[in-house]
Each structure stands twice: as C-alpha cells, then as structure tokens.
C-alpha cells in the first residue's frame, strides 16, 4: 500500500525513440531525476505501453521508421489527455508548427540538454496537474488583441495590415504570458516564473525593460499605454480583449 502510494506520486513517463543510443542514457538520466520511465522503440510498442500503464507524459521522437511521431502524437491526442513533449531533429519552422498543431505540449530540438528536457517535463506536468483538465498547448494557435495577432506557431506578431513585427525571444515570451491571461494582474515575479520555462538565458534582464520595449512596438503612444497597463502596487496586465483564433 505504501509502495503503491509512492509509485503513484512518481510521474510515469513513456519515452518513445527508435535510437537506443539516445533512449537508454536518457531513460537513465530521467530516472535519476526522479521519474519512472518506460521505454518504447516504435509507435506500436508505445501504443501497447500506453494501454498497459497509466502514463503521465509522453516524450516522443518525431523521426521514427514506420509510423512516425507526429502520427502517434495525433493518436494520443485523439484518445486521451496525456501531455506530449516532442523530440525533433530539425529546428525547421514547419516541423515545429506541425508538431504543435498535432497537439504536442512542448518540444525540444536535438541535440538537447537533458536538464532542459527534465525542466520542461516538470513544467508541463505542473501545468496539467494545476489545470485539472489539460490546458491548451502554450504554443498552439493565435491570439488576437487590440488589432494585433500573436501567431504562436511562427512566433510572430502581425499588425492590422498583415505586416509581421519580429520579437526577440524575451519579448515574445512576455507577450505570450500576458496574452494568455488577459485582464489578470501579473507581478514581476509571476512574469519571471511564467516566462522562464523556455530560454532561461533570455531572462537575465528585468521585466520592466521588456515591457517598455513591447510597448514601443505595440502601443499607439508608448508613454500612455492602452494595451499593457501598469498596475499600481507592482505588476502588469493586458487590458485588451483577447480572442483565440
């Protein structure tokens, strides 16, 4: 009984990759990080493992012989709520977008740092646990607000005339955090937490600085901001109506 409880507390990952040279050391590493890891070498055995165990999260390689990762990802999404993190060999835009459209929760590009992967697994698990029901993937779809559209797949901001305004990594993460929580007051600490899941290095700089840069890009008058409001007492809120597209 106590052993079963302990097992239930440990997140159970399914690691799907046809490359043993990656799969085995990675499983070892993740086990050391406190996960329970089940391995699968192809899509078919992955399906069998998913049926046999209560899997909390799937780490899935896109490029596999036979049925590929994208197809398996779609299957997982169609049959349940289990979150998926994709391993992709290419940083190509299209792969990332397709993967996220298939319903993946996150992705890492090979060669990835196992630490980063572990950190992302934890973020996704926390989000799933906190949400009760599974939330939308952070990177799927687009958000429309105040005449702007934030396209998350392509990671670009597009204005009324269809001209895209490229954002730095930091600006993008901050804007995404704000747009996903319209009319909520977010303190600087919360914003740091929310944006740190991705490229941590990008967030050495203060939130205030990023906010003022974002305002210069999207506000009609950056000195009297209408979209990103400063909230008295410390924090920011997106005051515009947001529509998910």
């Amino acid at each position: 009984m106590s052993q079963a409880d302990a097992m239930a507390d440990i997140p159970h990952l399914l690691l799907v990759d046809d490359e043993r040279s990656i799969r085995e050391p990675l499983a070892q590493y993740l086990t050391k990080q406190g996960f329970r890891v089940t391995q699968a070498g192809d899509a078919e055995s992955a399906r069998m493992r998913m049926a046999a165990y209560a899997i909390d999260l799937v780490v899935l390689d896109i490029m596999m012989p036979g049925e590929d990762g994208l197809s398996l990802c779609r299957h997982i999404r169609a049959t349940g709520e289990t979150p998926v993190i994709l391993l992709t060999a290419r940083a190509e835009e299209t792969d990332r977008i397709v993967g996220l459209e298939m319903g993946a929760d996150d992705y890492v590009v090979k060669p990835f740092s196992p630490r980063e992967l572990a950190a992302r697994i934890k973020v996704v698990l926390r989000r799933t646990a906190a949400g009760g029901t599974r939330q939308h993937a952070p990177d799927a779809g687009s958000y429309a607000f105040a005449g702007w559209v934030l396209k998350t797949g392509e990671r670009t901001l597009v204005d009324r005339e269809g001209v895209s305004v490229p954002l730095s990594t930091g600006e993008y993460n901050l804007l995404l955090a704000l747009v996903q929580r319209p009319r909520q007051v977010l303190t600087r600490d919360q914003l740091l937490d929310l944006t740190q899941g991705r490229e941590a290095a990008a967030f050495d700089r203060a939130i205030d600085n990023q906010v003022s840069r974002l305002r210069r890009k999207i506000e009609a008058d950056p000195k009297a901001p209408d979209i990103i409001k400063t909230v008295w007492g410390g924090g920011y809120a997106l005051s515009a109506e947001v529509t998910r597209l």
Binding site: E19, M63, P114, S164, V165, S168, D204
Partner: protein, 446 residues
Amino acid sequence: MIRPFPRSLAGQMALLVALALALAQAINFTLALRERDQFRRDQTTRPAAIRIADALDREAEGRPIDAERGRVRRAAANPITPSMEAQPALAAELRRQLAEQGVRARHVAIAIAHRGEYVVPDDAVGRRMARRRRNADVILIAVQQPSGAWLTIAGFWPRDEERLFWQLVGQTLILYAVVLLPVLWIARRISRPLKALAIAARGYSPADPPDPVEPRGPADVQAVILAFNALSLRVTGMLDEKDRMLGAIGHDLRTPLAALRVRIESVEDDADRTRMAETIAEMNRTLDDILSLARLGRPSEPATQVDLGALVDAVVEDFRDLGEDVTFDEPPRVAMTLRPSLMRRAVRNLIENAVKYAGTAEVSLEPAAEAVAIRVCDRGPGIPVERLGDVFAPFTRLETSRNRDTGGIGLGLALARAIVEEAKGTLTLANRDGGGLVATITLPRV
C-alpha cells in the same frame, strides 16, 4: 531606342529578304531601262529617217518643204543650241538610217531641249503633239543637206524615268507584301515559342515545381522545348534528391550528437561537462549552417511582409539578453517583403562576427527610397583590403582571426551573403576609417 540592325530572328529574316528583293528589283530596273532606251532609239531614228527621205522625194516631185507646215520643216539655221542635251548616239544612228534611205547629209544632230529652250510652234501639228504629252521635253532633229540647208523635225520626248521609278516602288511593295508577310509569319512561329522558352528558363526556380512549357511551333522548336521540360524536371528531381540526402545527413549526424549530449550529463566534472556541451552545441550550429547554406536555393519559409526595423531590433535584443554590447536605434517602421527567419539569421551572423572579433557592435538601419541598408560596424582588427573578397568563401578563416577556441569555420559570412542575395540584395564588407569593419546589407525596396 531603335537599333540600326534588328537582333530578333523575325527582324533579321525580314531585313535580309527585303534587301535581297530590293537588289533583285534594282537589277530588273536597270535591265528594263536599257531595253527601253534601245526601243526609244529605234522609235526615234527610223521614222525620222523615213520622213526626211519621204519629204525629199516629195520635194523632188515639186512639193517643196515648208518652214511652217508638216512634220519635216525647213529652217534657216541649225535650231540646236549648245545648252540643249546633245544625243550623239542617236545622231550617229540617224546618219546610218539616212544613208540606208539614200539621203546624203552634211551634218546630223539630235538634241533634247528642256522646257523653255525650244517652243513648239502653235500650229496644227504642234497642238496635236502637245495634246497628248504635256510637260514633256522636246527632241529636236536637225539635218544639214549637202547644199547647206537645214531640215528639222521636232517631237515630244516624254520623261518617264520618274514614272518608271514609282512603278518599281509599287512592284517592290507588292513583292514585299507577298513574300515578307509569310516570312514574318514563319519567323514568328519560330521565335514566339523560343521567347516563351527563354522566359521559362530565366524564371526557373528550384523552389517551385517546374511548370512545363507548352510545345508549339515547328517540330525542331518543339523538340527543344520538350528537351528543356525534361531537363528542368531532371534538375528539380536532383535538387529534391539533394534535399532528401541533406535531411538524412542532418538526421544521421544529429542523432549521435544528441546521444553524446545525453551521455555527457553523467560527467562529474562541471567544467568538463560544460566544455563538452559547448563543443556539441558548436558542432550542431555548424551542421545547421551547412544544411541552411545547401538548402538556400529552395527555402521552405515563405516571404511575408515584415517590419525590418523590428526584425533587426529583435536580433540585437537577443544579443543584449546574452550580455553582449550591441547598440541599435530602432528606426521608424520599414515594411519589407522577405523571409524573416532567414534574414534574422543573416543579421545575427554579421553581429556575431562583430562581437567575436571586436567585442562590441553598432548596428544601424537606413531606409532610403530605393533600398534599405543595414550596417553592422565594429572597432575590431578589420580585414586586409586584399582579403576582403576571400572571406565570403565558405570555410575561409583569416590568419589574423583569434576564433580558434570559440569555433566558427567561416560559414557565417557565406551563409549571410547567400541569404541576402536570395533576397535580391547585396552584402559588402569594408574597413572603417579609424579601424574596424563595416558590413552592409543592402535590400531593394520593391
């Protein structure tokens, strides 16, 4: 601009045929003129000789030749003046004809009088002649009898060279219409499909599936078009194959890199592990660069409207986030149509170089009416003038560089230039006054 000589097939064929026809017509004209001259000589001399002989016969029968009446008249003196156009050949012919008729003459002269030099007498004969031929010259025949008396015959001499000339022009035009139109038609039948072929060949882009040119025109031209269609299919097929191969190479190299990256996590020594991770990251970046450079002819990213100022600013901001000293004043909005990820890569590579060699970079963007210039300036060691051109060649590294430790195999500039040129722009390097290097991307504003 009108070229003195047409360069198109139709133009050259038409010109050549026109020149050949004109030459043939000129030869015909000359021959016709000579024949007419011969005919006129006969027409002039033979009747004149007969008339004179006839008049002399009648005089012998007691009907004297009058000075005021008849075709053959008496004259007090030679009516031919030196200003008239003497016709010695005609005169010699007439003398021969007269001799044949048994008429002896001391002197025979024929001349053509232009208008005003001789007035045809206003009598029955003169009026009859004038009625038929207005504005013509007058031919005067003067024969001096052995007695010293003069006999003259005057007649109109039609000037028909001009008429003949226009006749020739008319004939030539008819020939042109009959011959040139079919020539032009056949030339166009050849040149039209050739032109379409040239356009297709110029517009060939490996990025799009080839659009076969419709085989038209004569069989020879159709064969060329079909061969071109097959060739473009083959080229696209080869490029597809190259893409697949590069994808496979990328995958095959990344997989062991990824395995290595996972394994080094078990290395105990932090410094060692960090160095290994950096080496792997560097190898991966190089692999990325090689694949990007090789695939640049067929970019998968579509061109979109992008604010170039924000694009450069975003790249600069990413460098600042990493703690690099890069300055940039964000300019007003500059909307351009380009492939944003690739252009980001190009700008990033230039700034990366500046930061690597000089530690700092000053970036500026100058929008002008025709083109936009992105400048990345540094105060580093610069590049010797004679080697400025070399650094674009892939895998070039200058001896002066000190980046052996930080990596970089000299693909950065080659990739940046390839990206900029794919966007129809230029990338140039120049040394700055006071030391350092300036890299300038110039992009045309469409």
